[in-house]
Symmetry: C2
Subunit: 456 residues, 2 copies
């Protein structure tokens, strides 16, 4: 392992900017297994459902209103809305909406949500260009590979330092995907990655505000523009990712160059993408899952004396909010997540509505939840003990939460999730057509059939 964790500059880093650019420009169309191909369709479908579902959220309204101050040309579709905007603004807004519910995909090795930046940029550019579905899937697989490999390269130090890794790697992924879609050669793609490298977006301090979903949206926009700039001859450093004052070394003190190189073109990071059953950060999914299992075992909220969790340290670091005041804050509260799991048996977007998070019985139950950090518990696990008023004790150990790679959402699960998100916006029959178009994307001659269904 050549993991560098020192603060001394590495002047001999391999030329990963060029290597990744050559890969993106030259890898054969559909140059991967059927499993990878299918995962790409699942990733796209899950991303689109999330983007449609949040289309009427006030964060999306606000972002659209700001964008409309620019009087944008009607080049591209917004998921779940009737307005049209220029393609860069569409990348921004679809990226925001796809992450607003914290319900999108997760590359579990790095906690990157890769589709937000990458697919949002692709759909906007592909619409304007008339790209084929084949080109879209190719760009998606390759763009996500670049984002997630760069994430692997700096994770976890980069994230621990405070970068929202979805946005900081997302500009690179979006630039790679759009370079592919534009048909840029390796040299131009190198320039696009370089331009994008200077625009890492996202501080973790923003978690719990609209600026968190802004990160994938901003990354999508910046990556798309980086590719357009490179196409027009704009230049950047060809060592922007690896140089001593380049992306990895400035944004992290850990960088393992081999993550960019090993099995490139053979192992695809999209294979490690997972989809959330619950509309919140992945770290509390085991806890919600466990509480839903308590409910399935017959435990009722009114019987509970206390619920004790033993959790991975990140759970309290990311989602330790004891007294959430609204739905958004509820997503950063393992206590609310457990209450929702036990009371409702699920934690979709509805269970994070303001009126649920502040409902008396929900508040009462969450105050009975206690969590302690146990460094021996892995991120995908939790140990839960419910003590009941009658003295009984019920224990649940979740080894792998639903939605993990070990217990993945099925295609039917993903469709059900899509319906829950999109039916209220588009109506059920339109949603059926959209689902068909998503599954058939790789064969579509262009995106028109899909896109024309996306307005309410």
């Amino acid at each position: 392992m050549t993991v560098n964790t020192s603060v001394t500059a590495d002047h001999n880093a391999p030329a990963i900017t060029r290597q990744l650019a050559e890969f993106v420009a030259n890898h054969p169309s559909k140059g991967w297994s059927d499993a990878v191909e299918h995962e790409a369709h699942r990733t796209f479908l899950n991303w689109l459902g999330c983007a449609i579902g949040a289309a009427r959220h006030e964060a999306v309204d606000a972002a659209l209103a700001a964008t409309q101050m620019l009087q944008p040309a009607p080049q591209a579709t917004l998921a779940g809305r009737s307005e049209r905007v220029d393609m860069a603004s569409a990348a921004l807004i679809n990226g925001i909406s796809s992450h607003t519910f914290d319900f999108d995909d997760t590359h579990l090795k790095t906690i990157i949500h890769p589709a937000g930046p990458v697919a949002s940029a692709i759909m906007a550019l592909a619409e304007h260009q008339g790209s084929s579905g084949r080109q879209v899937i190719d760009a998606l697989v390759l763009g996500i590979d670049v984002a997630c490999r760069m994430g692997n390269l700096v994770y976890p130090e980069h994230y621990d330092r405070g970068w929202h890794i979805t946005g900081s790697t997302g500009t690179l992924g979006a630039a790679a995907a759009c370079s592919r879609l534009l048909g840029l050669n390796a040299e131009q793609t190198t320039m696009a990655l370089g331009i994008a490298a200077s625009q890492p977006i996202g501080l973790r301090e923003q978690f719990g505000t609209m600026t968190k979903p802004f990160h994938p949206g901003g990354a999508a926009r910046a990556g798309l523009m980086a590719a357009l700039l490179a196409q027009k001859g704009f230049t950047s450093s060809a060592r922007a990712l690896e140089a001593p004052r380049g992306w990895a070394q400035v944004l992290s003190t850990k960088y393992d160059w081999r993550e960019a190189q090993d099995e490139l073109g053979q192992r695809f990071e999209i294979s490690f993408n997972a989809y959330k059953p619950f509309a919140c950060g992945i770290v509390i999914h085991p806890s919600i899952d466990a509480c839903a299992q308590l409910r399935a075992q017959g435990v009722k909220a009114e019987e509970v004396e206390k619920i004790e969790l033993r959790v991975h340290p990140l759970v309290l670091e990311l989602t330790g909010k004891k007294e959430p005041q609204d739905g958004l804050q509820g997503k950063f509260s393992v206590y609310h997540g457990c209450a929702a799991g036990l009371i409702f048996g699920r934690a979709g977007e509805e269970e994070f509505a303001d009126h649920i998070v502040t409902r008396e019985d929900v508040v009462a139950l969450r105050r009975k939840v206690q969590a302690v950090v146990d460094t021996s518990v892995r991120e995908e696990s939790v140990y839960v003990t419910a003590t009941l008023k009658d003295g009984r004790s019920v224990q649940v150990h979740v080894e792998h939460a639903i939605g993990s790679l070990q217990r993945p959402m099925t295609d039917a699960d993903l469709e059900a999730k899509f319906h829950n998100l999109a039916d209220p916006i588009l109506g059920e029959s339109k949603v059926e057509s959209v689902l068909d178009a998503c599954w058939g994307l790789g064969q579509a001659s262009n995106l028109q059939v899909l896109l024309k269904q996306l307005a309410p």
Copy 2:
């Protein structure tokens, strides 16, 4: 001094995001001395001259071509060009052109070029809004104050780590300026600063490529959009600048909070702004100045055996390129700078043209220049010894280079520089009108008189 240089998070940082936002929102119009007011006009004028001068550069052509893919609405003027684009794109492109020649202003404490991000955002927004010249100057002083104070707060560690501090602080300055121009209240301005904080732009690895001037342009665009987003209700962390996972602590291990607070509203950082007599990085100005002084003393290039420099360490770190291949690389070569100073007695944009940098006599002379680092030499100084073929030795010690705060460019110097830059683009008589409009900006009811002169 409460300078924190440890890597342990500071959880008790003062609320500087709010403090700066309150300052920007509430400080009285023209609430500063006549000297500050005049410096603001000098800053604007110098920025505009640089932006006009580079209007036909291929970096600007490429950026405009990429932007035109979005079919932008003709909302705002581009300095020195006849095309019109939306205001956010105008902020981007004017920001790029103003820094393309490396000839813009420098806040000497931090090597920030503050006008690029701040003035570029202001002019675009002010045009679209019909703001008065008074509002423009107010926004400029306050926006530059925010950018440079945040720079002081993290300098030099942040810069040493590899951030191009012009872009990383520029988003904050542009957001502050545009918030003021939009009349946002303190709460909205806090949100705008927060949105901007998640978008630091610029790695030093890009020096010598078009992406270097992209940094102030991108910062201008991002800051303008952050203010528009905040106006429309988009939210961010109110502690985005100071929190453990906020701007300062993620982007630097040194943060001196008092730089954001001390004498706020009394000391204005624009007072420490300087203007370049030479079209390249400020660190080699003493060397160029010294070589021009050698020339003034009668030393001729053909007499020179060797020229020895003793320089501050940054000179070789930033501009140590021994064999520049074109004009852009020439700007990062103290060797070429010295050759230009001795041969031409100046180093404007013309002396960094490709054909000059590769001209035989220029190349021959630069190869006779040797530089050694001397940590006792300050950044604004240099010791130069020319050894002539006849055995004579001529020494020059520059304590403060022309263009420094101790030896500032006069108003007449700035006008001459403006003519050199803008006359080839706009013609001399139009330039005279532009200069008049710049000096009278604080009294102008709007920018129309100025703006209508800016197209060739």
